[in-house]
């Protein structure tokens, strides 16, 4: 292969890193700090030690750990942090962005090329940012005969639904946006929205190729939702609950994939179909119907749909981990927090530096279990995402009739076998009440 790649030089690498750090710092100072100020002005700030926090006070806290840490504590427990940052949208969007990058690099390695290389200097790490900027700066063109309100609303609804999906995923003990008893049922409800949004977007464009793509997406999603739901019934029978956190806790000894491998395989296949990924990317088959239901979307509308579909990918992979791979359960690999050193002060030679207020860092906000659980959860999710991406390099696209045949006859049959296995395990007393657990 005659691939021409520049020679790797350590000095160049370090220089590029420093360059990036310089620009990040500059942008942070010029744009980030004002933005922090603006947000602090809008957010209802907590009362700490009988003192109302004002933005100016908050800035002075930045340099005073004694006062900063309680603020961080207060913020970590707020709903806004959960929704925007950690188990919610920000975390998922970050993971989705890294999935796009990893996917491109992985496909490139598989196909004997280099992939994104120049943008950001280090292995094209900023390529995604460049793509995003390009999409934002593109003109949005709407077909003349489109049903405009629905056409505008569809991409936003798509991202919103995907984000609602993300909200159901428990990442670590206590770290979940919406911990509801009917979590799995809520998941079924959320994925029921995707075909509706897809067909709305496709039909409102009033164009031929999006219409065909939308109809294909409708066929595909509706016919694969049934095996998707059926494949999860085994887990529900064995655990006796629909709460996702409780399902994870039931797998503290062994993941359900050990007992229900058929259910896991069926769920994985239906997951690929729901995500419209190769080999089931018929709704976006570019050689047949241009870009399917995405044909008329342009600029950031397209970008939003892409963001939504990658959020959906993360959420489905996370759901696979939650239901079949044991979620956050795993050996404790995060070391215990050094409580002694901090509570008694930091020893610096003969002097002991004591900082007040650090004790509360070790209170219930972040625990060792939470960090460990998050680490295992992310590792397992990354593994599942790897297997979701992999078929893209290996398989061509299937045809509609083969797809529907697979969904309606073969997968549903396998689902019933899976349910019978679960019932057998339950009645034999191996699992469930009085069994291994």
């Amino acid at each position: 292969m005659s691939v021409i790649a520049p020679n790797f030089k350590l000095s160049g690498f370090i220089k590029s890193l420093l360059d990036n750090i310089f620009w990040i710092l500059l942008i942070f100072v010029l744009a980030g700090l004002p933005a922090v100020f603006m947000i602090l002005l809008l957010v209802d700030l907590p009362v700490i030690d009988g003192e109302l926090l004002t933005p100016f006070l908050a800035l002075s806290y930045l340099v005073n750990p004694t006062r900063l840490i309680p603020v961080i504590h207060a913020f970590l427990t707020t709903d806004i942090f959960r929704v925007i940052a950690f188990p919610g949208f920000g975390f998922a969007a970050l993971l989705a962005a890294s999935v796009i990058f990893v996917e491109r690099k992985m496909m490139a390695k598989l196909q004997l090329r280099v992939g994104p290389f120049y943008c950001g200097k280090v292995e094209g790490i900023l390529q995604l940012m460049g793509d995003g900027l390009k999409l934002i700066s593109k003109e949005i063109i709407i077909p003349a005969k489109a049903d405009k309100p629905i056409f505008w609303a569809a991409p936003v609804l798509f991202v919103a639904t995907a984000a609602a999906f993300v909200a159901l995923i428990p990442v670590a003990p206590g770290w979940v946006v919406a911990d509801i008893d009917l979590g799995l049922l809520a998941f079924f409800a959320v994925i029921g929205f995707f075909p509706i949004i897809t067909i709305l977007s496709a039909w409102s464009a009033n164009s031929k190729y999006p219409f065909i793509g939308g109809i294909r997406a409708l066929f595909q999603m509706v016919s694969f939702e049934i095996p998707l739901i059926l494949s999860l019934l085994g887990v529900v029978m064995l655990t006796g609950t629909l709460n996702l956190s409780e399902i994870i806790e039931s797998q503290s000894n062994f993941p359900w994939i050990v007992f229900l491998p058929i259910g896991a395989i069926v769920f994985f296949i239906t997951m690929l179909a729901e995500l419209e990924r190769i080999p089931f990317d018929l709704p976006e088959a570019e050689s047949e119907i241009v870009a399917g239901w995405l044909t008329e979307l342009s600029g950031m509308m397209y970008g939003l749909v892409q963001l939504g579909s990658y959020l959906k990918l993360y959420a489905f992979a996370a759901l696979f981990v939650v239901l079949f791979l044991g979620g956050w359960n795993g050996p404790m690999i995060v070391p215990a927090f050094p409580e002694q050193i901090i509570t008694e002060g930091i020893e610096m030679g003969p002097i002991t530096l004591t900082v007040d207020g650090l004790e509360s860092l070790l209170s219930n906000t972040i625990t060792q279990e939470m960090l460990n659980g998050t680490l295992w959860f992310v590792l397992k999710t990354a593994g599942v995402i790897f297997f979701i991406i992999l078929p893209r390099g290996v398989f061509p696209r299937v045809r509609v009739d083969i797809l529907l045949d697979l969904g309606w006859s073969k997968l549903i049959g396998l689902c019933f076998i899976n349910i019978f296995i679960a019932l057998g395990l339950l009645y034999a007393g191996v699992l469930g009440p009085g069994g291994l657990q």
Binding site: M1, S2, M107, L110, Q111, L112, R113, K208, Y209, I212, I278, P279, D281, L282, A285, E286, S287, E288, I289, V290, R392, G393, V394, F395, P396, R397, V398, R399, V400, D401, I402
Partner: protein
Amino acid sequence: MTTELPRDIKLASSEKQIDQSSSNWLPPGLALQKVDEKIMTLNVGPQHPGSGHMRLIIQIDGDYIVACDPDPGYVHRGEEKMAEYRNYITNIPHLERPVIHDSCNILYPYVLGVEELLGIEVPERAKYLRVIGAEINRCIYIMYWLAIYGIFLGHSTMFMWPTGDRELLIDLMEKMTGARVTHSHFVPGGVRNDLPANFEDVCLRQVNYFEKRIKEYAAVFYDNPILISRTKDTGVLSRQDAIRLGTTGSVLRASGVDFDVRKKEPYDVYDEFDFESIVMKEGDSYARSKVPWLDMMESCRIIKQALEKIPKSGSVRVKLKPNPKGKGFDTVYKRVESGRGSLGCYIVSDAKPEPYRLKLSVPSFRNLIALPYLLKGEKLGNMPAVYWSLNYWPVEADR
């Protein structure tokens, strides 16, 4: 011999005589036709990722194609007319433009014809060099075709692998001729340049590696169960239909007709090599996609044999007089086996430095004729699989 078409299908344009002079006339596909409400007309191309430089006017009923009307001509460049204004040597660079990936093979019949008109005897070494060039070019073309077939079926790895491996042979041709794609290497009287030093060793090494590499495609593409389920029994062209429709090359051989110009009418030194013409009986898209791939392996065999048998020294070109002209009013027709099928060139000379008339009989256009019959009754999802399996190059069909 009957003249009726294999399947009773009437194309939209042939149903009624359209009066083109009336003010309401629009090109086919753009005119509003009164059709069944269930039927949707799709313009696949010219702005479509799966069409190439042409348009397919497809009518679908649900997921089934009712009628297909190919509309080529978007890249018509008037090659034949241009040839009448240039002399026999300056015709060489522009005649290879229709298929730049197969540029040696499209020049081959022209060069053979001009040699017969001028009555030139070609040196032995030049004949072998032509065979090497033509076979490497055939592989380059088929790799490009295969890459597009891969991406048409949604297999992105099968797009990247042949595109990358093709570089091996392009580098070889660059060494041999000095140009990467449009070589202008064949000239009346031989080839333009002799080989560079050490070419034989490099060529043998690259071709061996290439052969090993294309065998790996079986695992990722040809033995892939999804590919087989998509292309088996789709677009079946029976042996009789293939002959009646006048298809050629890999399409004809995939339908069970053993016709390879290199075997049946050997030109230059093709009768000295031991190779097989690949024939498959199925006649479906899968067979049509597999025949060119097997052809490449035979090409590798021919290249290796040619490297052994080539005379080690000798001239590679007969010196021509400036501005050569034919001896009198004369016609000649020569054909060769190109990457797509038998490619003919008909030259009429009237003892002037320019040809009086030059006609290219291209395989792409002959294979395209089969498309409406194959697509009728197929599912829309099969359209790219059938369309590109016809080994069709839009630019060549338009000339």
